[in-house]
């Protein structure tokens, strides 16, 4: 079986409208062009006849303009006019050079809303649960109900403790600075919510306080640093699949030696340059590793630490750097806090333990041979011929972030980089790859930092599953797939929302708004239930248990701004179509909620409270919110040498007009103002770090203490027999996040019809499992069914499971453990059992490729 393919596409005519945008999906932030024109006409194949200005009957590879079957759609605007929409990779972007793009971004056009395609599933109108159905209501009614319930809870409680929120905090994907500021203003200026969690985790926290509290924001490098580096370290980051174009346009050319001329031009005179080396630290043989092995044989190193032991490994590499004298004492003295350095030397480098003994310990804990640890240190830090300092760019992502002991993991890594002076110089940096793009601007949040800085933040999942909260408001995220210990979470939220639903439905639901609100408030007290609001693009899994649904508008349906991760590049994502039905931008929904709340307080004569909720009074268009958000940033009329004092996303002084003018070139945040003009920051921390005194703040990491009880229980006695596999989790190239759009696209659903696990051939043979079989994976936390790929990507005894798929999540098996210092979960390590389901799904095996995804030679 296949699906309907196309062999001709409408050609944008010369007079088509052209707009700049940026991919709605991953951290890379590839630039795209959107061409729109009314249905009924089209251009011609000749370069002079179409808006691309290229001959569309044959083009040279790479140099040509990609226009694939997924890059066209037809949409209908509110005026009833049908438009062709063509969304193709931009050729003038500094990020996706050559018009590169991935299989995710290539589907931006077919993911647009249309009544004629599967995306008709978008939420168009507010809806209210009545018994076991959702009924369409008006916005006014929805606001009356929502604000009635929220105010009723506040009136009774005298605070916002029982108003729990889970909301996106990212850029792109229809969010951006505008919607972040809307959400932040509602919950931190109007309400004073403390039980709020971020889209993919149970609390409101940074995932990298271990770096930020050292004075290093996680986005400190530029994409070009991957082209200039001597060594690229991918630590718990599978960039080829989760930041594809960053890999193919910036890392791969360097591995192939194609950036040597750039190095000669940009680096120091007489500095030796050659093709890059790559170190991949990952329990799996990822495609990012095996491509490097194919493209740059002999210049790759793979370290496969035991799960959870990465910080011990980073410290061990740092110890070798220290022993071998690969550091610059003058730099350390000038740029870092030498008093705190003593603590680092004692606890992380453990200079009190003789080198041989230390290395033997590190090797035993991590499972990485001493020789490899030493080789890694050489590749990261050994000065080059002529005494030139090596340039190493270290990119990490969820393999480190969602590891056991989040704080110490991140701190260990950034400290390794600073010890070897690998931040703030061309070709260096130590930062996140990122998952999505960023766009954070909000009033101050409830928790300032880790346990060392006023934290840790509250675990909102636990608060809710333990029975806390009355109103649960979920915005732009799908916790029924994304939160840890997922099965327990789903069950408890279902029970609690259903308790209220049943109460409301005892004898027909009240017909008046007031009656309904009163009954909800009564029911919440009587049942310990939850009133759940879901504000989203689609009827997501979580929405099935909600009471009230609010339709949000998406990428392309409004003007938005975000930065990407590899360069902090701020660009305007221009609106090119209307939202479906009555869907609205999140900022506008937040504004309307605020104004309705203000009305209710004013009716009570509570003017002070009413004013708090009027934050959005003057917001009439997207840019109003963008500019209002800018007021949260400090004065940025400062010299370049002071850039470290600015928040990473500072865009004060930038307007939409400015962004329109710079187009795909954008501007790199933090933005400073010089002579009244915005100026970007290419690379951070060249002169100072982001601490009060500008010096890097060292930290002594914990010793190896073994696994937390939630996982250790599986390593003992009967449990060790019962659950013989380690399980780690992650993402796949083909799909984006929870597949909220992808599940409607045949290209995606045929390629990845089910969540899957990777199983080593030895284990597969022992269990008589083959690729394409369906297995149950389970432990004491939960269960899931998965399709199997038998592959050497994993080691014997370790499986990899896709983290989320519209048909299930491996988070069901993940424990409720979070790092006590940060409340960040360990999504990537637990123990499980596996059994093959008898029979199979021939439809899946005959339509879906089962070939090895990490074999390229």
């Amino acid at each position: 079986m296949s699906y309907e393919r196309r062999d001709q596409l409408p050609i944008p005519p010369r007079n088509a409208t052209v707009r700049n945008t940026v991919c709605q999906y991953c951290n890379v932030g590839c630039g795209y062009k959107v061409y729109t024109w009314p249905v009924g006409t089209q251009g011609g194949l000749e370069a002079s006849q179409n808006a691309f200005g290229v001959n569309l009957s044959a083009q040279p590879p790479i140099a040509g303009q990609t226009y694939s079957e997924t890059m066209h759609s037809i949409v209908t605007n509110k005026d009833g006019v049908q438009y062709h929409v063509v969304i193709v990779p931009a050729k003038d972007s500094p990020i996706n050079l050559n018009g590169d793009h991935s299989s995710r971004g290539a589907t931006n056009a077919i993911a647009t809303f249309s009544e004629g395609r599967a995306t008709r599933e978008r939420l168009k109108y507010p809806m209210l649960r009545v018994g076991d159905q959702f009924q369409v209501i008006t916005w006014q009614e929805a606001l009356n109900i929502l604000c009635g319930v929220a105010k009723g809870i506040r009136d009774k409680d005298g605070n916002d403790d029982n108003i729990a929120v889970k909301a996106f905090d990212h850029g792109a994907s229809g969010a951006g600075f505008e919607n972040n500021y809307g959400v932040g203003s509602l919950f931190f200026k109007g309400f004073s919510v403390k039980h709020i969690a971020i889209h993919n985790r149970p609390a409101y926290n940074s995932e990298v306080w271990g770096s930020r509290e050292r004075g290093v924001h996680e986005l400190n490098y530029d994409a070009s640093d991957a082209r200039l580096a001597d060594t690229i370290v991918l630590w718990g980051a599978n960039t080829y699949e989760t930041g594809s174009v960053f890999y193919t346009e910036h890392m791969l050319p360097n591995l192939r030696g194609a950036t040597i001329p750039e190095k000669q031009q940009s680096l120091e005179r007489n500095e030796p340059v050659e093709a890059a080396y790559m170190i991949v630290v990952d329990p799996r043989r990822t495609s990012s590793l095996t491509i490097a092995q194919t493209a740059a044989p002999g210049r790759t190193l793979h370290l496969r630490p035991n799960l959870g032991t990465d910080y011990i490994l980073a410290n061990a590499i740092a110890r070798v750097i220290w022993e071998r004298g690969y550091y610059n004492m003058q730099y350390l003295q000038n740029r870092t806090d030498m008093a705190k350095f003593e603590e680092y030397k004692a606890k992380s480098l453990k200079l009190g333990t003789p080198y041989a003994e230390f290395m033997a310990q590190a090797s035993r804990i991590t499972g990485v041979p001493r020789a490899d640890i030493e080789k890694a240190a050489d590749w990261i830090a050994k000065p080059k011929t002529g005494g030139f300092r090596r340039r190493t760019l270290t990119i990490y992502e969820k393999g480190m972030i969602w590891n056991m002991k989040n704080y110490d993991q991140i701190a260990a890594l950034v400290q390794m980089a600073v010890l070897s002076q690998n931040i703030g110089r061309p070709g260096t940096g130590c930062g996140r790859q990122g998952g999505h793009q960023e766009g954070y601007v909000r009033p101050p949040s409830p928790t300032p930092g880790s346990i060392y800085n006023g934290g840790p933040p509250v675990n909102v999942d636990k608060y809710l599953t333990d029975g806390g909260g009355k109103l649960y408001w979920v915005i732009g995220t799908n916790p029924y797939l994304s939160t840890p210990n997922n099965q327990l979470f789903r069950k408890r939220i279902h029970e609690r929302t259903k308790a209220l639903t049943d109460y409301l439905g005892q004898s027909g639901e009240p017909g008046t708004t007031e009656g309904y609100v009163t009954k909800v408030l009564e029911g919440l007290e009587a049942t310990g239930g939850l009133f759940m609001v879901v504000q989203d693009l689609y009827m997501i899994h979580t929405a099935l248990d909600a009471h009230l649904l609010l339709p949000a508008s998406a990428w392309g349906e409004a003007n938005q701004t975000s930065i990407n991760c590899n360069s902090r590049l701020l660009r305007l994502y221009e609106k090119f179509m209307d939202p479906p039905g009555e869907a609205k931008q999140d900022w506008e929904i937040c504004k309307l909620v605020g104004l309705r709340m203000a009305d209710l307080y004013r009716k009570d004569g509570n003017e002070a409270e009413a004013r708090k909720f009027e934050f959005g009074k003057g917001w009439n268009k997207d840019e109003d919110v963008f500019l209002a958000g800018a007021s949260e940033f400090p004065d940025n009329n400062i010299p370049a040498s002071e850039e470290a004092t600015l928040p990473a996303e500072c865009y004060k002084g930038v307007t939409y007009a400015f962004l329109k003018q710079v187009g795909q070139q954008g501007i790199r945040t933090p933005v400073r103002m010089e002579n009244g003009k915005p100026v970007g920051t290419l690379r951070r921390y060249s002169t100072k770090f982001g601490t009060k005194d500008g010096k890097f703040s060292w930290y002594g990491t914990d010793d190896w203490e073994g696994y937390p009880p939630e996982v250790q229980k599986y390593l003992e006695g009967d449990m060790a027999q019962k659950y013989p596999f380690w399980m780690t989790t992650g993402r796949a190239q083909v799909i984006w996040q929870t597949m909220y759009n992808d599940r409607f696209l045949p290209e995606k659903m045929l390629t990845l019809p089910l969540p899957y696990i990777e199983l080593h051939p030895q284990d597969a043979q022992r269990l008589s499992i083959k690729s394409g079989d369906i297995v149950e994976v389970w432990n004491e936390e939960g269960n899931g069914t998965f399709m199997v790929y038998v592959t050497d990507a994993v080691k014997p005894g370790l499986i990899f499971a896709l983290q989320y798929h519209t048909r299930g999540t491996s988070n069901s098996m993940v424990s409720g453990y979070t790092d006590p210092k940060t409340t960040i979960p360990w999504y990537k390590g637990t123990r499980v059992a596996i059994r093959k389901l008898s029979g199979g799904l021939p439809d899946v095996t005959s339509n879906t490729s089962l070939l090895a995804q990490n074999k390229f030679d």
């Binding site: 079986m1 296949s2 309907e4 393919r5 196309r6 062999d7 001709q8 596409l9 409408p10 050609i11 194949l45 179409n50 569309l56 009957s57 044959a58 083009q59 040279p60 590879p61 790479i62 040509g64 990609t66 226009y67 694939s68 079957e69 997924t70 890059m71 050559n98 018009g99 590169d100 793009h101 991935s102 299989s103 290539a106 589907t107 080829y240 594809s244 174009v245 193919t248 791969l252 495609s287 491509i291 194919t294 190239q733 290209e747 045929l750 390629t751 005959s846 339509n847 879906t848 490729s849 070939l851 995804q853 990490n854 074999k855 390229f856 030679d857």
Partner: protein
Amino acid sequence: MAATLSRRSVFKVLAGVVAVASGGKAQYGYAPSLAYPALKVGNINNLRDGQAVYFNYPDGSAQGVLVKLGQRAIGGVGRGRDIVAFSAACTHMGCGVQFKGGRFVCPCHYSMFDPAKAGQCYQGLASTPLPQIRLRVAQNGDLLAQGVVGLIWGRARNI
């Protein structure tokens, strides 16, 4: 064997024009919606398992590739239903794909396509499967290309 021909000569050699779709479907370009030539691209008796034969189709500036997989394939012809043909231009950015170890690998950014699964891109940056070239086996074993299902990279219309 590799057939080569120019855009013009195609229309001279072809045995007949096939697969002319019309009406609503053609309007949106659902493949095959164009008047494709029928063209001999090989003979069933000359193919060996695991070997690729390159040819030009539907015109002289588009490379196609014919493979006998030795295992049943979606859209496969021949006794084992294992002979399939595809556009050889990677649907990512147009580089020529290579047939290695039973699958197609693109040397530019490593997209990989499964010839047994309608050219599915099971790894890499390409957004669509390789366009599959429809084959018919003539009585004498000749393999005739007779249409392309999917858009050839770099074109807005296959012919």
